[in-house]
């Protein structure tokens, strides 16, 4: 099972180039696509979900071209868009049942079983008779993943699923996601580094429509080992420090600022070595991309 993206490009009518020659190979397991807002992640997700045409390039899933064989892909797809809503006056159970039917599960008893099970798995059993308009953000998101799991998908795309969720709901959501990524391709697009570090075995960083970095999170972190330095400074020193060093991230801490600097060698006396996290990998990459472009 493999999703291959070759040389994919897309420019919107307003001139924004959302995808620039994207090449990616994604195999089974949880794949994290990390990038800031506006990086082109959703465009990529929608293109894979057959909702958008690309100007150039090709996307293949298990060898078949999804651009021309849309229906083939859709039969294997579970998609949770970044922004979505539901018909407000319908209950969770009824809507999931309706969706299941649309996914081709036309056997009535079978469908009922599946819907019950999915509601249970997503911890929505108690709320199944409630209208979707009354759902909280987390419940809505869980309902969203429930519908994506309908009909035995081989490819699941979840676009920014944890944005706006409180830590507990996010935790709950991660819990569900972590269970489904075994034998199928799951693409998780997010701007939250923890989502990727918590869940993914493989990842890519994207910005300005380009893939900046590919690899497994642990390898990528390993590469940065010994190259990240940190220092606590006063606010007034910041400007000076940014000029002087390759600052990749800043963070407030008890009124002072912790800066992270990427450097092969110790940049200065006051710096101490930092054990890199995926966040540092991400920031370093974004920073470099900024500087280059």
């Amino acid at each position: 099972m493999e999703l291959t993206i070759n040389n994919l490009s897309k420019t919107y009518p307003n001139g924004v180039q959302a995808l620039k020659n994207i090449d990616l190979n994604i195999s089974t397991g949880m794949f994290g696509l990390l990038g800031p807002n506006g990086a082109g992640k959703s465009t990529l997700m929608r293109t894979i979900a057959t909702l958008q045409e690309a100007d150039e390039g090709m996307v293949k899933f298990n060898g078949s071209n999804i651009m021309t064989e849309k229906i083939q892909l859709r039969k294997q797809l579970g998609y949770l868009p970044q922004e979505f809503g539901f018909y407000p006056k319908v209950t969770a159970e009824n809507l999931l049942n309706h969706f299941a039917e649309l996914k081709g599960i036309t056997g009535k008893t079978e469908r009922k079983k599946l819907v019950d099970k999915l509601l249970e798995q997503t911890n929505l059993t108690q709320a199944r008779k409630k209208k979707l308009s009354t759902f909280s953000g987390g419940m809505k998101q869980r309902f969203g993943i429930a519908q994506a799991l309908l009909g035995d998908p081989k490819l699941i795309i979840v676009d920014e699923p944890t944005a706006g969720l409180d830590p507990e709901e996010r935790n709950r959501f991660h819990n569900i996601l972590s269970e489904i990524g075994e034998n199928i391709v799951v693409i998780l697009s997010t701007h939250i580094v923890d989502d990727v570090s918590d869940l993914c075995t493989d990842m890519a960083i994207m910005n300005y429509g380009e893939i900046l970095l590919k690899g497994s999170p642990s390898e990528l972190i390993e590469e940065k080992k010994g190259k990240i330095w940190k220092k606590i400074i006063n606010k007034s020193e910041l400007e000076d420090q940014v000029k002087k060093y390759n600052v990749i991230s800043t963070r407030l801490f008890t009124g002072k600022i912790i800066i992270h600097v990427e450097s092969e060698t110790k940049p200065g006396e006051s710096f101490e070595i930092h054990n890199p996290t995926l966040e540092d990998v991400y920031f370093a990459q974004i920073k470099n991309n900024h500087t280059n472009s």
Binding site: G107, E110, I176
Partner: protein, 1207 residues
């Protein structure tokens, strides 16, 4: 704060392209309409009520009517221009941020409203400016342009449009801020338009004008009311006046809208809570919160079978459609639209078939006609909005990402939307049907015709579906909800004008078909076939649209055309290709079949074609108009009617006699173009010297001329054959049941001046001088003919008419023989004395009711179930025979026959002893005691024509209808006076005055006085004639007038040419008039006189001796108008009735009043105060209470005391 928000909004609105597009659309729309109305542009001519003849295109009246009426329709823009200025905050969720700012309510609501109001005024100025610009264009007919008047444009803008934008805008804005829903704003708009409609339909009745004026939020009824009786001169010269009603209407509705805004202001809070129609409050679910994750469940999803077979596709389709359907049906706004429609149904159901204020029985087709036309607007509204809602539903709910990536084929989306719309249609049809049945049951009418219900609903439903498909297609293509709605509204407006833009063929007009009409006698008859063919044609077009929408359906995020076309190509698979090809073949095939029928089997003539033909006819042949021709003295015709095939054949002869002093060597024959001449043969040698088959004009030259006093015989064999079907206007003279064939299918001797074009403007286009409408009263040569037939005097008539067995065929004359042969029945009719050259044949399956008056046989031939008014009609026949034979002269025949014919024409007509009578104007009338009994009246009127046409007939000059229509109106009024309560006579005069005053507003040339009335001025000979003669017999005395008529008849009945004129008749009336009343006779016959009689004040007090002293302040004014309506006031020196009545009280369940005082007074001053002593307590006073004098404001002729009396 206000200022910033206001200016921001203003800038925002003026920076939007939409603002300018709306402006441009309104500008162009009006520009086009004016150009079409006033220009001489090829293939483009539009006419609207009130314009024509001498009314200038840029008269204040036309400018006002046009701008204001299109302004009403443009109100549909307000949700977009004003509603959005508050709604967009909710739509874009800006309110969550904005409402946390320190903004004042007044600043926010006021600023936003005003900031939207001003740009909306700008948009609407497009109408006015479009109008103004178009008027300056070189193609506008200069003759129809008056002087430019800026005020003519400015006044309607500021008194009508701006207040309407304010009223509608405030209502919409308030609804938007209260509900935060887009549809609510449209609902507000619809409600306003519905009230406008209710006002309009109330205005049609004579009684409800005040209510109508106030109920309509847009002030249209109030304005219409003010100009109701406007003549040409008033339309050209005066600005539409700001009447008290109009101003009151503006104030009331501005106040109402202001109060609503106040309420909205009160209730508006800067919160995210919404006022909503839901009963239960929304509560956010907080289940499962604050529980730590206690275990990591492993996701185990049962494996399921998935099925993508066609059967499961169908299941999915049903599931999706149901989902869409339930969503619409449960939508509160849908329910509100339906309820609004039902309110309008209830209003209109009370006036089913109203004529002269009298309703008809709620027979199924009438009920369906009323309900269907009432609901039609709502069908269009539902189609427009819900097509949009359906197309946009996923995207509005943001479910589109999920749904669109489902493994569903493309066609299923479109199909599910369409099926939902179809189901909605069925629900509406059921509602209409149930309501129709309720109306019938409520009226105690139980003759439900389920077949008619189903047929009418099916036709309505087909329209609904086809227009629905179009609407979904448009919404899919333009992919913008507002633009979609707007295009649809424009489309529906343009549809009304299409015919006038030169597109007359139904092949070009989406969803159009030749008219189809049910008649109790004829059923749907021959209309069914062509209707179905046309609908199949448009249905196949709709399939093409459907496939197109399918291919271009927005699935996903691609909305630019490049990618949509790319996707379209991708989706254009084999089934789509096969479907498209099949539909195209059906469309082209059916189109070809239609074309073969309409243009090859039949002749298709556009209005322009037939105008050209008529102009040519006149140019080539009018030189023969004066050529002396022999006159028809005998007509002997056999007619074979074939109702099933809708064919008929004439076979017969004329005897033509040379009544002139010189030999006649040529005869002109004009032919009815629809017939085929098989044979025309004179009994002497002839050469055909002119043979124009296209125009049906032939000249035969005799080798030996017909000498004076000598005769010739013309044998003819003519047939009419129905071939296929026509584009429109199929022949309804020959029907499966209810054939009614006029003698005008027969050859005519001489040039037909009735072929000439009438309207001056059109004549000018073809280089023809204005047409003289009718010969002057002094033209003795014109008087050689009667006004109903040329080149004939009184003729001997006999006919054998045959029809299919089971039908009865009738023609004027007495039945002398009846026989059957080859499955057909033959009837031979013969007259005993000579009659006018004016007859007809009827054939139908009749039920017959017979009666007798002295030795006169009375028979009514009618459709079996139409037995409601038969006795009423027979009674009218008898009462007429009584009155007319006693007062005028003996009845010249020994039979009277009334013959029902289908409702495709709505008149009754008097042939000698034979009265064809449309089923629509009396047979199903539901006459109550308080109603004007029009079946009785129409019968009495047609009976009177047996004297006033068939005994005395005017020559073909001005004033000719005085001796027929005016006298028939008078005679029937007198029979009614004897038969019915006085109050009904008053109502009757009210209607006749209304007919006259309304009629003179649409005069195309000039208003003649009664003495010189032209036959086309029916408003004068019916309306004014009736009031005039009724008043004269009241003032002068019934006996004296009748004596005059009797003397007149003695002198002129059955005269030989030259025929009598109104001047001859007038001598008798003048002779009967005493000197003191000569002014009245002259006023009525020789001038155009209008009164303004009014009770200004009515007071009374009790006197010591138990009587009552009444004080009246009376206004009496008199005006004379010229033929264009220029008026001048005259000195009053006239007699007018004055009446004082008691309060109403009940006698045997009926309310009555005592007449305490009733007398004619001579008034010499415009204002007079008078005192009277009466015996009982008075409650009501009236001047000219029976409306004997023409008065434009008859409602103020009465004044009552106490509220109870006003109501």
């Amino acid at each position: 704060m206000f200022w910033q928000i206001f200016t921001y909004e203003l800038k925002y609105k003026f920076s939007r392209l939409g603002t300018y597009i709306y402006w441009l659309v309104l500008f162009l729309f009006m520009f086009l309409i004016i150009s079409a109305l006033g220009g001489n542009i090829e293939n483009m001519s539009v006419s609207i009520g009130g314009l024509g003849g001498k009314v200038n295109i840029n008269s204040p009246y036309i400018i006002t009517i046009l701008n204001v009426s299109f302004g009403y329709m443009a109100m549909i823009l307000l949700p977009a221009t004003i509603g959005t200025s508050i709604y967009r905050d909710f739509k874009n969720n800006t309110h969550t941020i904005l409402y946390s700012y320190p903004v004042s309510k007044a600043g926010y609501l006021g600023g936003r409203f005003l900031g939207a109001f001003i740009p909306t005024m700008f948009i609407f100025s497009g109408l006015i400016l479009g109008c103004m610009t178009a008027m300056q264009m070189p193609w506008i007919d200069q003759d129809s342009l008056g002087a430019f008047r800026l005020s003519a444009y400015i006044r309607p803008f500021f008194t009508s449009m701006v207040p309407n934008i304010l009223i509608t805008g405030l209502i919409i804005f308030s609804l938007a801020s209260l509900t935060r829903e887009l549809l609510a704003t449209y609902m507000g708009c619809i409600l306003i338009i519905v009230l406008y409609g209710i006002g309009g339909s109330l205005l049609e009745g004579v009684e409800n004008q005040s209510i109508a004026s106030l109920i309509d939020p847009l002030g249209s009824s109030a304005m219409q009311n003010a100009v109701e009786y406007w003549t040409v001169n008033e339309k050209n010269e005066q600005l539409v006046p700001l009447t008290w009603h109009f101003i009151a209407n503006r104030l009331i509705w501005i106040t109402f809208a202001g109060v609503l805004f106040g309420i909205a202001f009160q209730r508006f809070k800067f919160t995210q809570q919404v006022f909503s129609f839901k009963i239960r409050k929304k509560s956010r679910l907080l289940l499962n919160r604050f529980q730590p994750v206690s275990k990591y469940v492993s996701i185990q999803i049962p494996r399921v079978k998935r099925n993508f077979s066609f059967k499961s596709r169908l299941k999915q389709l049903i599931s999706l459609s149901n989902n869409e359907f339930r969503n619409i049906i449960r939508n509160p706004y849908f329910i509100a639209i339906i309820l609004t429609g039902i309110i309008l149904l209830i209003v209109n159901a009370s006036s089913i078939g109203k004529m002269y204020g009298t309703t008809t029985f709620p027979v199924t087709y009438k009920v369906m006609e009323t309900l269907g036309s009432t609901f039609y607007l709502f069908l269009l509204i539902i189609i427009t909005f819900y097509a949009g809602e359906l197309v946009w539903r996923e995207r509005d709910n943001k479910t589109d990402g999920i749904i669109n990536s489902m493994p569903l084929p493309n066609w299923i989306f479109y199909s599910s939307k369409l099926s939902a719309l179809m189901m909605v249609g069925i629900v509406i049809m059921l509602i209409i049907m149930i309501f129709g049945l309720l109306v019938q049951i409520f009226n105690g009418f139980f003759d439900f015709q389920m077949g008619v219900y189903l047929a009418e609903l099916a036709m309505l439903y087909i329209d609904f579906i086809l227009l629905g498909i179009l609407a979904v297609t448009i919404h899919t293509l333009v992919n913008n909800k507002y633009v979609g709605h707007f295009i649809l509204v424009i489309y529906f407006l343009m549809e009304m004008f299409m015919g006038q833009f030169g597109l007359e063929h139904n092949l070009y007009k989406f969803n159009s078909n030749p008219s189809i009409m049910y008649s109790a006698m004829n059923g749907y008859g021959h209309f069914v076939g062509p209707y179905l063919v046309f609908k199949a044609y448009w249905a196949s077009f709709a399939v093409i649209l459907g496939i197109l929408s399918n291919l271009l359906w927005i699935r996903g995020n691609e909305t630019n055309w490049k990618n949509r076309i790319f996707q379209m190509k991708q989706r254009f698979t084999k089934p789509a290709k096969i479907g498209l090809l099949t539909a195209l073949i059906a469309f082209v095939g059916l189109g070809g079949f239609i074309f073969y029928n309409t243009n090859i089997l039949n002749e298709f003539n556009t209005t322009k074609d037939s105008r050209e033909m008529r102009a040519e006819y006149e140019k080539q042949y009018s030189r023969y108009a004066e050529m002396i021709q022999p006159r028809i003295t005998d007509v002997n015709v056999n007619l074979d009617i074939y109702p099933e095939k809708r064919d008929f054949k004439f076979n017969g002869y004329y005897i033509l006699k040379n009544k002139s002093n010189s030999p006649i060597d040529s005869v002109i024959i004009s032919q009815n173009n629809e017939t085929i001449i098989n044979n025309l043969n004179f009994n002497r040698e002839t050469d055909m010297v002119l043979n124009d088959e296209d125009k049906g004009f032939y000249i035969y030259h005799f080798n030996t001329p017909i000498l004076p006093g000598d005769s010739a015989r013309l044998d003819f064999n003519i047939e009419y054959i129905t071939r296929g079907f026509q584009n429109n206007g199929s022949n309804t003279d020959i029907l499966k049941n209810g054939t009614f064939i006029h003698s005008d299918y027969l050859p005519v001797i001489g040039y037909l001046s009735s072929m000439e074009l009438e309207r001056e403007k059109i004549r000018k286009e073809y280089g023809l001088p204005p047409k003289k409408p009718i010969a002057s009263i002094n033209d003795t040569s014109a008087r050689m003919d009667t006004y109903i037939a040329n080149n004939s005097d009184w003729v001997n008539f006999q006919t054998t008419v045959s029809t299919t067995n089971g039908q009865t065929a009738i023609a004027p004359g007495y039945l002398t023989k009846k026989w059957e042969k080859n499955g057909r029945t033959y009837y031979h009719y013969q007259t005993e004395s000579r009659i006018l050259n004016f007859f007809a044949w009827l054939s139908a399956d009749y039920t017959i009711k017979k009666d007798k008056w002295n030795n006169v046989d009375i028979a009514v031939y009618y459709q079996e179930e139409h037995d409601y008014n038969i006795d009423n009609m027979i009674n009218a026949v008898k009462k007429s025979l009584d009155y007319y034979s006693e007062n005028f002269s003996p009845y010249q025949y020994r039979q009277v026959r009334i013959l029902e014919f289908p409702r495709f024409s709505t008149y009754a007509q008097a042939f000698p002893n034979t009265i064809p009578f449309s089923e629509a104007i009396g047979f199903i009338a539901d006459v109550d005691e308080d109603d004007i009994n029009y079946p009785f009246w129409v019968t009495a009127h047609e009976m009177a024509h047996q004297w006033w046409a068939h005994q005395v007939i005017g020559g073909n000059v001005e004033g000719c209808t005085v001796m027929s229509e005016v006298l028939a109106q008078y005679s029937s009024a007198m029979v009614m006076t004897k038969e019915f309560d006085q109050k009904l006579i008053k109502d009757y005069m009210d209607h006749e005055q209304h007919r006259y005053l309304r009629g003179r507003t649409t005069e195309q040339l000039k208003e003649n006085d009664l003495l010189h009335v032209r036959p086309s001025q029916s408003y004068i000979h019916y309306g004014k004639g009736c009031v005039a003669m009724y008043a004269l017999q009241d003032y002068i005395g019934e006996k004296r007038i009748n004596k005059a008529l009797s003397d007149f008849t003695k002198e002129y009945a059955f005269q030989e040419p030259p025929f009598v004129t109104s001047v001859d008749f007038y001598k008798y009336i003048k002779e009967a008039t005493p000197d003191s009343l000569m002014y009245l006779t002259r006023d009525y016959f020789e001038r155009i006189i209008l009164y303004e009689n009014k009770i200004n004040k009515f007071d009374y007090e009790k006197t010591n001796n138990g009587k009552y002293k009444v004080t009246l302040e009376v206004g009496t004014r008199k005006y004379e108008a010229d033929s264009l309506g220029n008026e001048k006031e005259l000195n009053m020196n006239d007699w007018v009735d004055l009446a004082i009545y008691s309060d109403k009280y009940k006698v045997d369940g009926d309310y009555v009043r005592d007449t305490l005082y009733f007398k004619k007074h001579r008034f010499t001053q415009p204002e007079s105060t008078m005192e009277f002593i009466v015996d009982k307590e008075p409650a009501k006073a009236g001047i000219d209470p029976f409306y004997k004098l023409i008065d434009r404001h008859r409602e103020d002729n009465y004044k009552s005391k106490g509220i109870a009396n006003i109501l």
